[in-house]
Amino acid sequence: MSTTRHLINRRRRQASALRAREGAPATAPGPDAGPESDAGSPKADPDAGNPEAEPDEPVPEEASPPSSPRRHALSVALSLLPALVLGAFAVVAGGESAALGDEPAVRNAALSDVARTSELKGRIAKAVESVFSYDFAAPARLDRAVSEHLTGGAVAAHRRMLAAVREAGPRQKRVLTTTVTHSGVEHVDGERARVLLFADQSSTRTAGEKDGTTHAGAMLAVDAVHDEHGWRITAIDTFGAGS
């Protein structure tokens, strides 16, 4: 049974035989090729009397020149494959590990860095207690606390919040004491942090119409930065409440 390849080889041989016989350029058999070009006919096979064409050899002169560089290129490409696969894996792995390290949850060191969290909590609780405490007998203490613990926009915000206390304080003989009862670090990433605090505020007036002590609960969140002075508050968020 002749396969397609045999058929093609036979056609080539027939064409070259024809070219040799007629001196015509080697082309695909045209209509003038005569009955010899009729594929599949064993009687028309010129191989029988042709010594140079081995029936099992698929014409090496023609197949070799174009396929050698191509095969070479293929083998180079194949030998590069392991490097490509490894390189692709390295790119994926590098991206994945960077993504894992860059995850907001992972960059936030709240609680996962115990020392930093407790230092931050302690500093901020102390700062909040001192900047929200006022004693009419020593108003300068509040100023010192402000310059020590507040920076940026927190200074002006704090001035607005305590304006009434400062103004009426001496007359009312007012003492305001703030005690932080609960605090939690929402996030701390490098030099920036946000802390949520619950505090108790007691206000005592020993002069004026309304004597006595009042208690109130407060909640606030503060933004803080760490600089050469340690942690300092840059913003005070009272969630829209008074103070």
Binding site: S79, A83, V92, E96, V106, G184, E186, G217, A221
Partner: protein, 178 residues
């Protein structure tokens, strides 16, 4: 025929080999850093902290949200947010509470202002959160009442995720450091 072929392939082969070795080194380093990043204890702890906070915030919101017109679903979500003793309390008091709400015809909603995890023990599966809320209660008559609420929650890890096992308001007046 074979000799010119070898002369071309030799430096090429060396280059390919060097490239493969370099790629293997790079891949090894990448794989190692991927592995360590994925198995980093601090990172796993940080993720667990955020999961606990998210669950705690949602649970506290759920427990402060109730619409008398859809009380069954509201109280189902209460029970679903809690575990342990808190859940028992909610389930036991459910019928009585349902009657009260239907009589009062109130709609309560809550807005999360801020929240933080204050303690986390991943091994024991326990966490504490503090959450600042604004609660709005609307009764059939009168203006909606708004109030800020300072919630303290205890969370327990269950097969269904972190759930509230205790919830209360931060007390005012008797200041005790915490």
């Amino acid at each position: 025929m074979a000799r010119p072929d070898l002369r071309i392939r030799d430096p090429l082969l060396a280059a390919v080999l060097a490239l493969t070795v370099a790629a293997a080194g790079w891949a090894g380093w990448g794989g190692w850093s991927w592995y360590t990043a994925a198995h980093d204890d601090a990172a796993a702890y940080a993720r667990e902290r955020d999961r606990a906070l998210a669950a705690g915030e949602q649970a506290v919101l759920n427990l402060n949200t109730l619409d008398h017109r859809d009380i069954t679903r509201g109280l189902d979500s209460w029970a679903d947010s809690a575990t342990g003793e808190l859940r028992d309390q909610l389930v036991d008091g459910r019928e009585e509470f349902e009657r009260q709400i239907q009589r009062a015809k109130t709609v309560s909603s809550a807005k999360l202002l801020s929240g933080a995890v204050t303690e986390l023990d991943t091994r024991a599966g326990r966490a504490s959160v503090i959450i600042a809320l604004r609660i709005t209660v609307t009764a059939p008559k009168g203006e909606p009442a708004r109030k800020e609420s300072r919630m303290l929650g205890e969370l327990t890890r269950t097969p269904g995720g972190w759930k509230l096992s205790a919830l209360g308001q931060a007390p005012v007046g008797n200041a005790t450091a915490g």
